[in-house]
C-alpha cells in the first residue's frame, strides 16, 4: 500500500513538473533605456533623491493611449531600466522639482541612452555647514533660475541619514520635520537676499551622518530641490 502511494506521489510530481516545461513563445523585454538628468546651468547631474524624478514612458508603438510606466531616478541623478520592450516611446521626465519639459519621442532598442536637461525651480547656493557640539548648522541661500510664474515656496528642510542615500524618502524623521523652516510665500527679493539657517540639534555622538537641505514649491508634485550631500562626523 505504502509503495503504491509513494509511486503515485512520484508519478504526480513527474507529471506536474513536466507540465511546467512549455516554452514561453513571446520575446522577453530585451531593451534598456538609461541616461542622466542634467542641471541646465552647471551641466552636472540634477540634484535629486531616489525617485525624486520619474521618467514617464509611453509605448506608442503598442497603443495610442498606453498606460504609462515610470523609471525612478537614482540618487545621483541618473536613471536606468534594463527590462523594456523594444519599440517607439514618448519619454518625459515628470514628478520632480523642475520646470515642466516636453516629452521626446524616440525608438528604444538595444541600450538606448538619452540625457534630459532640466531647469530646477530653485537652487541651494553658498551652502556651508558647521558642527557646534552635537548641533549641525547648515546655512545657504536660495536662487531661482526662472522667477516669473514660480509657485509659492513652501519650506526648507534638513535631511539627515546614516548612509549617503539621503533625501525626503530616506531621513531620520525626528531630525527633519522638527527642524524645518516654513516660508509659505511667493518668490521675492527678500527671499533671494536672505541667508537661511537650519539647525539640527541632539545628533547622536560618535556617529557619522550624511545631511543635505531641500526646498520645495507648491507645484503639482511638491518634490524637493536639494543641496549636495555632506558628511558629518559627530565626535
Amino acid at each position: 500500500m505504502q509503495k503504491i502511494i509513494k509511486g503515485l506521489f512520484i508519478l504526480l510530481t513527474v507529471v506536474m513538473v513536466s507540465s511546467c516545461s512549455k516554452e514561453d513563445n513571446f520575446d522577453g523585454p530585451d531593451a534598456a533605456f538609461k541616461g542622466r538628468l542634467l542641471d541646465n546651468d552647471s551641466k552636472e547631474n540634477f540634484l535629486t533623491e531616489t525617485g525624486g524624478v520619474q521618467i514617464k514612458l509611453e509605448e506608442l508603438s503598442w497603443s495610442a493611449t498606453p498606460t504609462p510606466q515610470y523609471i525612478p531616478s537614482k540618487i545621483d541623478g541618473t536613471f536606468e531600466d534594463t527590462k523594456l520592450f523594444s519599440g517607439h516611446y514618448r519619454v518625459t521626465p515628470v514628478n520632480g522639482a523642475f520646470w515642466p519639459v516636453e516629452g521626446v519621442e524616440m525608438d528604444i532598442n538595444g541600450t538606448t541612452t538619452h540625457d534630459f536637461t532640466l531647469t530646477p525651480y530653485l537652487r541651494i547656493t553658498q551652502f556651508t555647514h558647521e558642527l557646534e557640539g552635537t548641533t549641525l548648522i547648515m546655512r545657504f541661500k536660495l536662487s531661482a533660475p526662472v522667477e516669473t510664474g514660480l509657485p509659492r515656496i513652501l519650506d526648507v528642510k534638513p535631511f539627515v541619514n546614516t548612509s549617503d542615500y539621503v533625501g525626503s524618502g530616506a531621513t531620520i524623521s525626528q531630525y527633519t520635520d522638527a527642524n524645518k523652516v516654513d516660508i509659505n510665500s511667493s518668490w521675492s527679493a527678500d527671499i533671494a537676499a536672505k541667508t537661511y539657517e537650519l539647525r539640527v540639534p541632539n545628533l547622536k555622538t560618535a556617529r557619522t551622518f550624511y545631511a543635505r537641505v531641500g526646498v520645495r514649491v507648491d507645484d503639482s508634485f511638491k518634490q524637493f530641490n536639494y543641496s549636495q550631500v555632506i558628511e558629518v562626523k559627530v565626535p
Binding site: 495610442a64 493611449t65 498606460t67 515628470v94 514628478n95 515642466p100 525626503s168 524623521s173 525626528q174 520635520d177 541632539n202 507648491d218 503639482s220 508634485f221 511638491k222
Partner: protein, 607 residues
C-alpha cells in the same frame, strides 16, 4: 358520396387551420413584461427598490477602496482613517486615494430605463403619481452622478438608454463631459426631482426636500471645487479641456444654488432636541428612528440579512460579542473641539489626576457623545484604558517626550490586558497595547452610532440594526453656513452655526470668524459620518494637512507611588505618516473602462 367526405374533410381542416394564420406572437409567461412592472404599483415600487439598494450611500459598510459599497464586516476600514480623523488599519493615505474604480453606468441605465418607460406603460396612474415616481428616479440619477463627479470630475452624461447592436460602436463610445456640465446636470436633475415629488414619502425614500438637501450638498462641493480647485491643481490635458476643474467664475453661482436649496428645508426639518441632557440628546440623535433631523436614512434588519457590524467593530472585544476594533479617533480631531487639553501644569510637569475620567470633565457634550473618553462607561463596563504604569515620575512632560526621557526606566508597558504590575493591569481591559491594534491606539474610541442599549451578547458581526443617516438637517445647515460664508453673508452663517452649537452644548460663536471656523464646525458635527475625506479634497487642503503628517494620542499612565494618573501627548504607537499627493484630488478613470472606451482619454492629470 366520396366527394362529400373529401369536401367535409377539407372544410374541417380549413376551419381548424384558420386560427393558425395568426402570428404566434404571444408574450412569454415566464418573463415579467415591462407592462407588468410599470403598469402596477407593486411593480414600480419593486423596481425603485432595486435602484435604492444600489444607491451609493456611504453608510456603515462603505470603504474608499477595495470592496467599496459591498457588504463586508470590517467597518474600521473607514475613509476617515485615510486622512487623520481616525488612525486605523490603513498603512497610508495611498491605500484609498485612488478609489476602487466605481463606475455605476449599469445602475444609471436602470434609472434611465425607468424614466423612459414609466410614462409609456403607466397610463393607468394619475399624473401626480407618475411625477412622484419620476421625481424619485431623477433624484437617484443625480445621486449616482454626484458619486461619479466627486471622484473623477467630468464623466460622460448618459441621459437615455443606450441600445446595442442598434447603435454603432462609435455612437456608444461616448466622450467625457466637462466637469462643470456634470455639476449643472446634477443640479437640473435635482430641480426636476424637487418639482415633481411631494413633501412626504415612505421612510428610506426620497421626497422633494431630500432632493433639495442633496442639492445643497452637491452645489457646495461644486462651489468649493470651482473656488479652491482653480488655485490648487495639477496641470494636465484633462484640466485644459475642462474635464478636471471648474472655472473660478462659476463658484458664486454654485454657492448661491447651495444656499437656496438649503433654505428650502427650513421649517420642514429641525435639529433633534428631544432630551434636555445635551450629551444624551446627541447620542440618541443617531439611534432614535423618530428623529426630526433625519432627512434620508437607510435601514437594516436581521430578517433581511442586511444588519451591519458597527457595534462589533468600533469598540473593543471587552464590550462586544464578536469582531474587533481597529480604528480610533485621533487626538487632532479631539483638539478641533478643545484645543490643547489641560494635561500639563504651568511649570511643565504633567497634571496629576485622581482618575482618568477627570480628563473629560467640562468638555463639550457633543464631543463626549461623539468619542468615548477614558473613564466612560458602555454596557456596564468602563473604558479603563492605560498606556502603562510609571513606578514614579519626576520632571516635565516635555522632557519625557524628548529624546532622553528621564523616567523611561520606571515605565511599564504591556501587550496583553492580563499583564500585571504589583497586582494592577498595566493597560486595563481596553488598551493601549504594545501589540497589534485591536485596542485603542490613541486613548479614544468612537461613540457616535454605538447602540448603548444593545446587550453585549447581541453585539456580534452582522447584528447591528441602527439606521444610517445619510442626510440630516445639521448637515444642511452646515452646507448653508458654508455657502453663506462664501457668499459673504456672515450673519446667516453665524446663525446656522449657533443653531448647531446650541444643540451641541458648545459656546456660541461671537466675534469675528473665518471660513476655517465654518469648516471646523463641519468637521466636528459630522465626525465619522464619512464626509471628512471628501471635505478635505474639495477644499483642496488635503495636500497641506496630510504632508508627511503623523497623528497623536492622549496616553493615560498610572503613577504607582503617587497613586495618581497623568496624560502624555505622544505620537500614536504606529507612528504612521500620511501624505496626500495633489493628483488625488481626482481619482483615475478606471483602467478597464479606458480599455473599453478610448474616448474617455485623457485620464485625469498625472494618472
Amino acid at each position: 358520396m366520396k366527394n362529400k367526405i373529401y369536401i367535409s374533410i377539407i372544410a374541417i381542416l380549413a376551419v381548424l387551420l384558420q386560427p393558425s394564420c395568426r402570428d404566434l406572437n404571444i408574450d412569454p409567461l415566464n418573463v415579467i413584461q415591462d407592462k407588468d412592472v410599470f403598469g402596477t404599483e407593486a411593480g414600480v415600487k419593486g423596481y425603485l427598490a432595486t435602484v435604492y439598494r444600489t444607491l451609493p450611500i456611504e453608510d456603515f459598510y462603505y470603504r474608499q477602496e477595495g470592496s467599496g459599497f459591498n457588504r463586508q464586516w470590517e467597518h474600521f476600514y473607514h475613509p476617515g482613517a485615510l486622512c487623520g480623523e481616525l488612525v486605523g488599519p490603513y498603512g497610508s493615505t495611498y491605500d484609498g486615494a485612488g478609489g476602487f474604480g466605481y463606475w455605476p453606468y449599469g445602475d444609471i441605465r436602470t434609472v434611465n430605463y425607468f424614466i423612459e418607460n414609466l410614462p409609456v406603460f403607466g397610463t393607468g396612474f394619475s399624473k401626480e403619481q407618475i411625477d412622484a415616481w419620476l421625481g424619485e428616479a431623477y433624484f437617484c440619477r443625480a445621486y449616482f452622478y454626484f458619486a461619479l463627479v466627486k471622484r473623477y470630475g467630468g464623466i460622460p452624461i448618459i441621459r437615455k438608454v443606450q441600445h446595442y447592436p442598434e447603435q454603432s460602436l462609435e455612437e456608444l463610445q461616448v466622450h467625457r463631459d466637462k466637469e462643470v456640465d456634470v455639476w449643472n446636470f446634477i443640479s437640473d436633475d435635482l430641480d426636476s426631482a424637487y418639482n415633481k415629488m411631494p413633501a412626504n414619502n415612505e421612510r428610506g425614500r426620497a421626497n422633494r426636500y431630500v432632493a433639495a438637501a442633496l442639492k445643497s450638498r452637491a452645489m457646495v462641493y461644486a462651489g468649493s471645487i470651482a473656488r479652491y480647485g482653480s488655485e490648487n491643481f495639477v496641470a494636465g490635458e484633462a484640466r485644459d479641456l475642462g474635464y478636471a476643474g471648474i472655472p473660478a467664475s462659476a463658484a458664486p453661482g454654485f454657492f448661491q444654488r447651495a444656499w437656496d436649496a438649503a433654505k428650502l428645508l427650513e421649517g420642514h426639518y429641525s435639529l433633534y432636541r428631544k432630551k434636555t441632557d445635551k450629551e444624551q440628546n446627541y447620542v440618541d440623535l443617531f439611534l432614535d428612528k423618530e428623529s426630526t433631523e433625519n432627512i434620508l436614512v437607510r435601514d437594516y434588519s436581521l430578517t433581511t440579512g442586511t444588519a451591519h457590524s458597527w457595534d462589533a467593530t468600533m469598540t473593543c472585544r471587552f464590550m462586544t460579542a464578536d469582531g474587533l476594533s481597529r480604528a480610533y479617533p485621533t487626538l487632532e480631531l479631539v483638539e478641533r473641539f478643545t484645543g490643547l487639553l489641560p494635561v500639563v501644569n504651568a511649570d511643565g510637569t504633567p497634571r496629576r489626576f485622581d482618575n482618568t475620567s477627570q480628563l473629560a470633565q467640562g468638555l463639550e457634550p457633543r464631543l463626549l457623545a461623539t468619542i468615548y473618553f477614558p473613564g466612560a462607561t458602555l454596557r456596564g463596563k468602563q473604558f479603563d484604558m492605560q498606556r502603562g504604569i510609571y513606578e514614579h515620575f519626576a520632571g516635565t512632560a516635555a522632557d519625557e517626550l524628548g529624546q532622553n526621557p528621564p523616567n523611561r526606566p520606571f515605565r511599564h508597558l504591556a501587550g496583553k490586558t492580563e499583564t500585571l504590575f504589583n497586582g494592577m493591569r498595566i493597560i486595563g481591559f481596553t488598551g493601549i497595547s504594545t501589540d497589534g491594534d485591536d485596542f485603542t491606539r490613541t486613548g479614544f474610541y468612537i461613540r457616535k452610532y454605538i447602540d448603548y442599549n444593545r446587550v453585549q451578547s447581541q453585539c456580534g458581526l452582522y447584528m447591528s440594526t441602527q439606521s444610517w443617516i445619510d442626510m440630516r438637517y445639521a448637515e444642511v445647515l452646515l452646507n448653508r453656513a458654508e455657502a453663506a460664508f462664501e457668499l459673504n453673508n456672515l450673519a446667516d452663517a453665524r446663525n446656522m452655526i449657533n443653531d448647531i452649537r446650541d444643540r451641541a452644548g458648545a459656546p456660541l460663536l461671537t466675534g469675528a470668524f473665518t471660513i476655517d471656523t465654518v469648516r471646523n464646525e463641519r468637521c466636528k458635527e459630522l465626525a465619522f459620518e464619512k464626509q471628512y475625506w471628501w471635505d478635505l479634497r474639495r477644499w483642496r487642503i488635503a495636500d497641506r494637512l496630510l504632508d508627511n503628517t503623523k497623528y497623536h494620542a492622549m496616553m493615560p499612565y498610572y503613577i504607582a507611588d503617587e497613586q495618581k494618573y497623568i496624560f502624555l501627548r505622544e505620537l500614536e504607537p504606529f507612528q504612521r505618516s500620511y501624505n496626500f499627493e495633489k493628483k488625488y484630488y481626482y481619482e483615475p478613470i478606471p483602467g478597464g473602462e479606458l480599455g473599453k472606451n478610448p474616448n474617455l482619454y485623457p485620464n485625469n492629470p498625472n494618472h
